[in-house]
Symmetry: C2
Subunit: 208 residues, 2 copies
Amino acid sequence: MRIAIVVYDGMTALDAVGPYDILNRLPDTEVSTVGVGAGPKRAEGGLGVVAAQDLSAVTAADVVLVPGGGKLGAVMRSERLHEWLRDRHATAAWTASVCTGALVLGAAGLLDGRRVTTHWRAREHLARFGATFVDERVVVDGSLVTGGGVTAGIDLALTLARLLHGDDIARAVQLSAHYDPQPPFPPVHPDAAAEETLVIVRDRLGPR
Amino acid sequence: MRIAIVVYDGMTALDAVGPYDILNRLPDTEVSTVGVGAGPKRAEGGLGVVAAQDLSAVTAADVVLVPGGGKLGAVMRSERLHEWLRDRHATAAWTASVCTGALVLGAAGLLDGRRVTTHWRAREHLARFGATFVDERVVVDGSLVTGGGVTAGIDLALTLARLLHGDDIARAVQLSAHYDPQPPFPPVHPDAAAEETLVIVRDRLGPR
């Protein structure tokens, strides 16, 4: 089983590394990173994450996953990346995105007519790719699996673990990753969040 | 505010990157990576994560965080790292670990007499550093903040966000990171896990 995670300048590192470390626990599975050009990419905040291979070296994968980022920039315009995503999607068992990685799949033409989720701040952008936003943490539509923002990558990866290997293995992966989340605040749906919280998110927080 | 996250060969990347991406959202905060030698480190599974600076370049930090890994190897024996951790701990507002990163703090002599948590599979190792295991997701004891395994780094980082900036900012960071976790299986305490699940964790799963 081969899983390829796309990494690029400006991505949110956790979008990629959450799934990486969950999927890396699966038996008989090789998880690797791929980029437009091999070598270090500069994620949000400046963190260097290495693309182990250039796109050209990955000619088949069972799962392809695209993380998101706050400023997608070049990956929304890279015809080379989009063609590679279309080619891999054609034969992959699952094509996945986390957060605004869905918009990259959209730019590649893979979301037309599909049910999709993304980071709550990016919901309104899905329509221009012909996708219908679904307000769920993880959405499976055919061979397309999309997750909400950032931390949703962990739930998405466990969903993939279940789809690939069944409940017993996925349950063990969840335990192995000690995934018994305890957010300090009761999670609030973005539509129900206090205006002052939304203002802080918009005006005071990174990523920079 | 300066936050330094130690990265090293063999670490679990998510232990470092979960906190990185949460803390990177804080206002007026610089989060960077530091290692025994600058440059790419090879996390479990082979993922390359770059140490932006050598230890010698980070002579003060408000927060120091050490991720864990399945095979700690060199970081348990690095006198240079241990001395650096002791020096930073002496003036840092918070010294933190995720998962088996606690054992690295222990090797540096920072856990004696402290209340500490770690990955459930590493619980029994804390006693040899003079620490008392506390069966909680995140434990704050003085200026020491320790988290459970792997995914606990997100809860730990949000706890740090709250300690550093208060509830309003931390709540906004949680929303910004879309942290409304929905594990596919109801979390089970390791002591209550089915024997067959524990056998899978021990014998069939990575990280490799």
